[in-house]
């Protein structure tokens, strides 16, 4: 269960404070996957991070009894001069995984990331694809009740993408997800509850479809079709 109580968050801008959302109260029951929608700069990522206990609101609290992950596939915590293995060991360490279970996690990360011997090379020598594969492998190697996903469902090549989707589908049986994404099909597939962050604050819907509908109201129709065409062209 995740409960938001009187949650308020604003950002400082040169023209005064910009309020993202104000006095939000909500209870998300156990096992509900949450999708967060909104335009760029609406505060989706900030809300995600506040729910994950990484960022803090101006007022209010997030109350939860769940183990919430760090944002999935996040590579900014890596130390460039350390090897992939050492970075993975560090993350195991702060999550209290030592000894034999740590070895198991490391083996699995190495397998999943498919970076082979580069696992023992400094992270600064990695390509960006290798970096994000390592990060993604790490996020799913540590078990949580709830995973935060910030638009990184698709890293790496097609083969890796497919593998990620399979693992996430597997994970969904035992854990839930809070997802920020612009890809509607992905949200429809993975989420039960929708949060729409609009200019007039935050709205919560019992189904993600309602949030998607509201989100798409703001988009002129022809543009959507153009986007679809562009996407199809890319896929083909």
């Amino acid at each position: 269960m995740i409960e938001l109580r009187n949650l308020t968050k604003s950002f400082r801008t040169p023209n005064g404070r910009k309020v993202l959302f104000k006095d939000v109260n909500a209870v998300f029951p156990e096992g509900k996957n949450i999708g967060i929608l909104g335009r760029n700069g609406a505060g989706k990522s900030t809300l995600l991070r506040i729910m994950g206990g990484i960022d803090y609101p101006d007022y209010g609290r997030v109350i939860t009894n769940e183990r919430i992950s760090w944002p999935m596939g996040l590579a900014s915590g890596f130390q460039g001069s350390m090897t992939g293995r050492e970075n993975a060991e560090f993350i195991c360490g702060i999550h209290g995984i030592w000894g034999r279970s740590r070895q198991a996690v490391l083996d699995r990360v190495q397998d999943f990331a498919e970076i082979g011997d580069y696992f023992n090379a400094p992270v600064k020598n990695y390509s960006s694809g290798m970096r994000s594969r390592l990060a993604f492998g790490l996020s799913i190697a540590v078990d949580f009740d709830c995973y935060l996903v910030d638009e990184v469902m698709s890293v790496g090549d097609a083969h890796f993408k497919h593998k990620c989707e399979q693992v996430i589908a597997e994970k969904r049986k035992s854990a839930k997800f809070i997802i920020v994404a612009h890809a509607m099909p992905q949200l429809k597939k993975n989420c039960d509850v929708g949060i729409y962050l609009g200019p007039e604050g935050l709205q919560i819907f019992d189904t993600v479809e309602e949030a998607i509908e509201l989100y798409q109201q703001g988009i002129p129709k022809p543009k959507v079709q153009q986007q679809n065409r562009a996407e199809q062209a890319l896929k083909a």
Partner: protein, 278 residues
């Protein structure tokens, strides 16, 4: 094959996650320990001589100061070889100056790590201070041993005093670093003033003199500096012929605990602002 392996493990949900039963103390311990290992690897791992730099840095300072003052051709303090006298001053001061510089940048240089919710600036500062302090103690002991091996030694005095002084000094460094980490994050300009404060302290803290050698009329000004008391008392603990006539353990105790309390209060009042997006 590889894929199948992976999925079975996910299905089993083997005990790999952060265990729910971790207490706050266990989390704190895990985080500090992991950070310490990480700091060691990044600090020394990439250097040519690696961990030898723990000893080399204070050694270089002592060689420079030692040769400089041996040209004066006299014993600095009766009964104590000049090199040892310098070592007991330099080692604590280097610890102070490292804590000072590192803690100011603690928030900025660890931004990426604050994406893990259990890791906050407090942990970054704590692990750095602990590591600096461990390096200080190890280098001091190793260099004393090394110098004794080549024949430069003095009679040892008081082990309990050394323990007391170093415990208090650790509190002092930690409190100061916490306060500085907040200051450095809130006012980036503070970094510009850091050398301005540090350099005079090098000359005022008795790194290469003893308070007894300073005319008495200046004592009221110099004696406010807790660092001076740390260095004086360290020498008193190490060498039996050192008297440390003006060093004051109660004053050091008071100022260290006050500094620790101040640092904790400052951090407590500001810590969310350090990581909060604005």
């Amino acid at each position: 094959m590889l894929k199948g392996n992976w999925f079975t493990v996910v299905q089993e949900k083997a005990a790999m996650g952060p265990t729910t039963s971790r207490t706050v103390w266990q989390i704190q311990r895990d985080v500090i320990f992991a950070l310490l290992v990480r700091e060691m690897k990044t600090r020394f791992g990439k250097l040519k001589l690696g961990y030898a730099w723990v000893l080399l840095e204070p050694a270089m300072h002592i060689i420079v100061l030692g040769t400089l003052f041996s040209f004066l051709g006299r014993e600095f303090y009766p009964g104590i070889p000049t090199v040892l006298f310098m070592l007991a001053g330099i080692a604590p001061f280097l610890c102070f100056s490292h804590c000072f510089g590192k803690s100011m940048a603690a928030v900025d240089s660890n931004r990426g790590l604050f994406n893990y919710r259990q890791l906050r600036p407090f942990d970054a500062v704590m692990s750095r201070v602990l590591l600096e302090f461990a390096i200080y103690l190890i280098s001091l002991i190793a260099l004393l041993g090394l110098l004794a091996w080549v024949g430069i030694s003095a009679t040892f005095n008081n082990f309990l005093l050394l323990i007391a002084v170093n415990l208090l000094y650790l509190c002092f460094c930690f409190g100061m670093s916490l306060a500085l980490c907040v200051a450095g994050a809130k006012y980036p300009e503070a970094g510009k003033f850091a050398p301005l404060i540090q350099r005079p302290l090098y000359f005022m803290s008795g790194v290469f003199f003893s308070l007894e050698q300073v005319p008495e009329q200046y004592h009221p000004y110099l004696a406010w500096n807790p660092l001076l008391h740390v260095i004086e008392l360290t020498r008193e603990g190490l060498f039996s012929s050192y008297h440390g006539m003006f060093a004051n353990l109660p004053y050091l105790a008071f100022s260290s605990l006050a500094m620790l309390g101040f640092g904790l209060l400052v951090y407590r009042s500001q810590w969310r602002d350090l990581v909060r997006s604005k």
